[in-house]
């Protein structure tokens, strides 16, 4: 594990320098420079198509960038698949549509990666899974299949599944956008608790209440660029750029 020796507590969790990405001819990320310190909670917002999901999906290489560099937890991202998988061990991700494995029970969803990726004994992996399922208050559903749970319950399972791998940073890609309104709170509550425990988090979300109470920094993106970056209080009360003002007036105006 020579790669990890470079890591100290001062090493930023995520660093991006001059990041550019194209989908075909479409320039989706433009000159992104961006650093996330250990323990920071960051909320990324912006209109649809602004590249915010693509940005966080580059961090665990679900999307490939064409220019610039990404360093995650001291490990520089390369094309090498072993390197990518090693980075993914440190990075948890929660998706908009949960992406639970429908053919496995809740418990199996959570214990699968610890067993097959971290080579933990089944008993230990299941104990770990139960521990995290309790933390997201869904342990009593452990033997059900994802299809039998509500959206909010599924998303909490997805969070537990990520936590079972002991990630050092969690990426949330619009975790509440696919949920019915009455289920959003149960998922946000879990995320708030996670933040209070000191987890490094990058959240793409339009939950501005969450951003105000939890975020250390709010980032506004538009057309593939980071337009504005600020602490939540000045970001919401005194947005500097015209586009940020327009965006905020649109989502807070109703």
């Amino acid at each position: 594990m020579t790669l990890q020796t470079a890591k100290t507590n001062d090493t930023p969790m995520v660093e991006m320098h001059g990041l550019n990405k194209w989908y075909g001819d479409f320039h989706v990320l433009r000159d992104i420079d961006f650093t996330v310190q250990r323990g920071e909670r960051i909320v990324i917002c912006g209109p649809s198509g602004s590249g915010k999901s693509t940005l966080i999906r580059c961090i665990n290489h679900l999307e490939e960038h064409q220019q610039g560099e990404i360093v995650v937890n001291g490990i520089p991202m390369t094309q090498d698949i072993k390197r990518i998988e090693q980075i993914r061990h440190h990075v948890g991700m929660v998706f908009q549509h949960f992406n639970l494995f429908p053919h496995l029970t809740v418990l199996e969803n959570c214990s699968l990666a610890p067993i097959w990726v971290q080579k933990k004994p089944r008993r230990e992996a299941e104990a770990l899974a139960m521990q995290y399922l309790e933390r997201v208050r869904i342990a009593e559903q452990a033997h059900k299949f994802p299809g039998q749970l509500s959206g909010g319950q599924q998303q909490r399972v997805a969070i537990a599944r990520s936590l079972c791998m002991h990630p050092e940073v969690m990426l949330f890609d619009e975790p509440t956008s696919a949920l019915d309104p009455e289920m959003i709170k149960e998922v946000l509550d879990v995320m708030v608790e996670l933040a209070e425990e000191g987890m490094t988090m990058l959240c793409v979300t339009h939950e501005m209440g969450f951003a105000k109470t939890v975020a250390d920094r709010v980032i506004f993106m538009d057309q593939g660029q980071i337009i504005e970056e600020n602490a939540p209080e000045p970001f919401f009360n005194n947005p500097q750029s015209e586009r940020t003002q327009l965006f905020l007036s649109q989502i807070l105006g109703h």
Partner: protein, 367 residues
């Protein structure tokens, strides 16, 4: 205030009205709903009776069941004596009669394995799978072919009948599925060489008729391989059938792979799983489950296609019944012969179909 409505009286659940449940209601809503429906139903019932009565008369009531020669058949109905007199040959082909116990043992072992795998009550499914896929084929080979452990060898040209049909079908099914899965994954691969090899293989075998494949395997293949390599005719037919069916299987599996949302693989990748784990643990189990009807459909087609081996001189069930029909002692009983063959094929294919439906229901996890 007049727009306000508040309802605080709960409504208890009541049973459905009598006219909508029970056998009379069923008949009314399914067979006799309106005059046109009633007429059509009566016509259909009449056609069924008119069509089935002579068949039952011929096959059961007027049929001759007991006897050993064609003299026993004089009543004008079906002559099942032909089947029972030739039964052993239909099952074992030209397998030496004193060694047929080896075929029987293989049949019994096979039945036990299938039951162990298929019946949910029996434990240790993983062990059962290993036994069926690894141990059983080896045991079956030594039992059927012999030539060691003090058992005299029975060359494959003496195999025949149902036994040969089952050997062809089971080997084809067991070998075609994994090859098909590998080909389907290969076709989706991002590596250009792997992808092209898979595409060429699939499109070649799908593009030629099975009869051609069997002819090539039996007539042309020996021209290309050195004469020292003396490949058994049955082995060549098996290779041909397996490649042919694995190309079809690959396309069925590819359909299943494409039906799995991309998010499944992404979630697995985000958890640090490599390609083979993503495929083996996440994508394939879901794809194969979804593809059960298509896979079983291919199995059934394969089972029936095995009868084409008669054109290269292998005597499967159909071929051996046809051969018996040209026996001068039994001329004129082709209907009985073909009905028997059809019935045997139908029993096997229908069982596969029913088991696949059961499997679909069992594996359904509410998504």
């Amino acid at each position: 205030m007049d727009k306000l409505t508040v309802n605080t009286t709960p409504v208890d659940a009541r049973p459905a009205p009598k006219r909508s449940v029970g056998p009379v209601a069923w008949l009314r809503s399914n067979l006799f709903q309106g005059p046109i429906n009633s007429v059509l139903s009566l016509l259909a019932i009449w056609a069924l009776i008119a069509g089935l009565t002579p068949v039952i008369q011929w096959a059961i009531i007027d049929a001759d069941w007991i006897g050993t020669s064609r003299e026993a058949c004089g009543s004008g109905g079906a002559c099942w004596v032909f089947i029972s007199a030739r039964f052993e040959q239909f099952i074992y082909g030209f397998y030496p009669s004193e060694l047929r116990w080896r075929v029987n043992v293989t049949f019994v072992l096979f039945a036990v394995m299938i039951a162990w795998l298929a019946l949910p009550r029996l434990p240790a499914k993983k062990l059962a799978a290993v036994m069926t896929l690894v141990v059983f084929p080896i045991v079956a080979f030594y039992l059927l072919h012999g030539g060691s452990f003090g058992m005299p060898a029975v060359p494959t040209h003496r195999w025949g009948g149902l036994m040969l049909t089952l050997v062809l079908a089971v080997v084809g099914i067991v070998a075609a599925l994994p090859i098909g899965v590998v080909l389907a994954l290969g076709r989706q691969s991002k590596m250009p060489i792997v992808k092209s090899i898979s595409v060429v293989f699939i499109e070649f075998w799908r593009g030629v008729p099975l009869i051609t494949v069997l002819f090539m395997a039996s007539v042309m293949l020996p021209l290309f391989v050195p004469t020292e390599v003396d490949m058994d005719k049955l082995v060549r037919a098996l290779i041909g059938i397996t490649f042919f069916q694995s190309a079809y299987m690959a396309e069925v599996v590819r359909g299943g792979l494409q039906a799995i949302p991309k998010g499944q693989e992404e979630a697995a990748a985000a958890l640090g799983m490599g390609y083979w784990k993503r495929m083996g643990l996440i994508v394939l189990p879901q794809a194969l489950k979804m593809m059960i009807p298509g896979i079983v459909n291919t199995f059934i087609a394969l089972f029936k296609d095995t009868s084409l081996v008669l054109i290269i001189g292998l005597f499967d069930l159909l071929a051996i019944v046809q051969a018996a029909l040209s026996d001068s002692d039994w001329l004129g009983f082709s209907i009985e012969g073909y009905v028997f063959v059809a019935l045997v094929f139908w029993v096997f294919c229908f069982s596969m179909s029913r088991y696949s439906q059961h499997l679909e229901r069992k594996l359904h996890t509410g998504h």
